[in-house]
Subunit: 453 residues, 2 copies
């Protein structure tokens, strides 16, 4: 080990310090924490030896971007590293074994909100750059880091910044570390992501809350109406009923389907030990990988309105709101999807109430070409580190920045994944496997060397 | 005015003091306030001149009953006066024009949570007894007061106490002041109440919350399942689909229907100015009074589960709960209704989740005979006070104690109503008309005189 290499203990302490910051970007009360995480990120980038490190403020009041670069390899390609320092809310708090912002190491994992999504994986990128830069006195490629703090809350700041196509983002490829390995020990590159439309269905009944004794039987009930609307958008078997929603789907190639079929996978174990559910509920006729990677979704995330406390309140609420999202796949257009959902909500609205769909944010799906040089070199670096052939998969999740980098910068994204399928992203007891954390740094450092060769 | 009669100002100040106590019986954090309201009630009863006034504690930890009596009219009938000193929760707070527990007099009304339901009306009974007792040195009848603090939260204490058929509750009739006048200036006695089953539908999907990107498209969603269950229990037109739910209904008599048709009523004005909704949503073919008074309901009051805060969280919740109720009419049996709802929920449950209905409390509907002597005398007293013939109506609400008094004590309930249809019970800006408050005291005092004659 070079004297420039940090020990595992040092790396772990830095990770813990990072995870202690409750940088929940969707909750206004955590605004100062989000900023603290931005400052921490910038500090790590400076310590790594990057130049021009700074917080880039959002003129529209969003969370700052963190930028840094190292551009002293003339004639060599430039890579744009991306990650996010914000995290999801931590509720329901009572289901965490240890508190979400008090990182705890157990069984080779570190447990905390943001461990895998995305602080732990982002730190891999920074520490890999630091290892090569400090260890060899420079990098074999040029790098830029662009780190955001709104990935979990819409990413408007980075979207506007990227859309302005600044000189600062000139690069041959992006490197994104926000995905997972298909299985423990199986190096994985993600080449496809679903897009997302997130929004709210607002239903309005009477102009004031009503007593269900006095008015029940004759008054419109927005919660009941919402039930009918949601039931009209997706049937009991999981089939999405939004007219036109499946029209633009590009099915996976036969080669891709065949590769998926070869992945080490036990559907029963997945159901019982990873999803921890009684049954898969997916569109009839679709396979699991189709359903997760190549088919759109429609999900309801929460319903607001009326009384949900302890005890009994016999209220017919004046209004109700359902928070919903749809995952999109190639080649669905987000604006078309929003229009289709809007129309379907209007058409499903029962009489006596009004309903409208309000989109909050949206981004397209992404598919990356596996023949890209950087994708192949990343796969090689990971194959060397783990001694196992790297596999190409897709992800059911959404990383809107991949679509934005493609659209505005014209560059592909290399998605090296070091998370694991049971990391509990967006759920209680989120974790990151520490072996993946340390190997991820080594593999990314090796990728930097290969990319500059 | 006798020197024993309190001035309107004095009565109003007492009412305001009563309404300032946030005695919300469903919320554990208001336990001390509920007790304060019990103590205040007892103080008023003592001040009225009643004997044996005391708080009767609940061995099972519920809120105390308040008892008091005056039994010095041998050979005369005994009346059992009932009311409740607890109130509904006040949310949504932001919709109140003045704070719910800072009583405000505007346009001849007093605005506060509990103004009409039921502190204001309960105070009418106490102040009427006080006026006769203090003014004439005694009452022409015997009276008992039994006041509870759990009417809005299940009423278990008074139910157990009444079921024990104590000597203390021996009476010829109950007098209950917790209903409303059909229209301003139209004295009204309520002779029918709907019953209630209140409960929760619990739906369980996966054992932990899931990320809708990673699992969406294949995971069961309890909120979506709840939408299908609720849609299966009541259709888009308001028709209840629970099998057997309408089997035991006793339709109103032709005479009763004819009397309802003569009531001064403008359905359009009701819709626009009282319910403040766009359209009536009721079982096809039913009239409005049928729907409100003689047909059962099924309503959803709130849905818990997932994320309902600001911003976006892409969670598929592990579980979801709908708070629901059904109003029952004669001759539906509450236990049968619970069994029917339970079966319907089970049958409507989509695959991939489990669902169960859990009843929280239940009570039967009540119908009172209009030929009863005390009903007729109450009508006479109200007719004299307002100079208009008293009408008999039903109420869509539930006052479980009426069924309990009938079942366990074998006595009918005289429901003198001094509220108004636009009092916003269980909603923001609850109010009580002050003219009704003062006239209600006079009419009730007159009823005491007539009952003892």
């Amino acid at each position: 080990m070079s004297s420039h290499q940090q020990t595992r203990e040092q790396l772990l302490e830095t990770l813990k310090d990072y995870l202690r910051i409750p940088s929940i970007s969707t909750l206004p009360e955590h605004r100062a924490d989000v900023r603290r995480a931005a400052v921490f990120t910038a500090g790590q980038m400076r310590a790594a030896g990057l130049d021009n490190v700074e917080l880039m403020e959002d003129p529209e009041g969003g969370h700052p971007l963190v930028y840094g670069d190292w551009l002293h390899a003339p004639g060599k390609p430039t890579l744009l590293f991306y990650g996010h320092y914000d995290v999801q809310p931590a509720d329901p708090l009572q289901e965490w074994i240890t508190p979400p912002f008090e990182p705890d190491v157990r069984n080779g994992n570190i447990y905390a909100r943001g461990a895998a999504d995305d602080k732990g994986l982002l730190l891999i990128l920074i520490k890999a750059a630091e290892r090569v830069l400090r260890g060899q006195g420079g990098l074999p490629v040029n790098v830029r880091f662009l780190i955001e703090g709104e990935e979990e809350s819409g990413g408007e700041h980075i979207a506007r910044y990227t859309a302005s196509r600044p000189q600062r983002l000139q690069a041959e490829a992006a490197v994104i570390c926000d995905t997972e390995m298909f299985a423990p020990g199986l190096p994985t590159i993600c080449v496809g992501l679903r897009g997302l439309v997130y929004g709210e269905i607002h239903v309005q009944g009477a102009r004031t809350d009503l007593h269900s004794g006095v008015y029940g039987g004759a008054a419109p009930n927005p919660l009941q109406a919402l039930a009918h609307i949601l039931a009209a958008l997706k049937d009991r078997d999981g089939r999405i009923l939004i007219p036109g929603f499946h029209d633009a789907l590009r099915p996976p190639t036969e080669a891709e389907r065949a590769a998926w079929a070869r992945l080490p996978f036990d559907e029963r174990a997945y159901l019982e030990h990873e999803m921890k559910a009684q049954a898969l509920v997916m569109e009839p006729g679709a396979t699991l990988f189709d359903s997760l990677w190549a088919r759109p979704t429609f999900e309801v995330h929460g319903i607001r309105g009326g009384f949900t406390g302890e005890g009994a309140k016999t209220v017919i609420p004046a209004s109700a709101v359902a928070k919903v999202s749809a995952r999109l796949v190639a080649d669905q257009d987000p604006d078309t999807a929003i229009a289709q959902i809007t129309r379907a909500v209007n058409e499903a609205c029962p009489r006596g109430v009004t309903a409208r769909f309000q989109a909050i944010h949206a981004g397209p799906a992404s598919l990356v070409d596996t023949d890209n040089r950087f994708i192949r070199l990343a796969a090689q670096a990971m194959t060397e580190e783990w001694g196992v052939e790297t596999v190409y998969v897709r992800s059911g999740g959404s990383i809107p920045i991949v679509g934005l980098f493609n659209e505005h910068l014209g560059i592909p994204s290399v998605m090296m994944g070091f998370g694991l399928p049971d990391d509990n992203l967006h759920a209680p007891n989120e974790k990151l496997n520490l072996d993946n954390f340390f190997r991820g740094i080594s593999a990314t450092a090796r990728f930097l060397e290969l990319a500059g060769a």
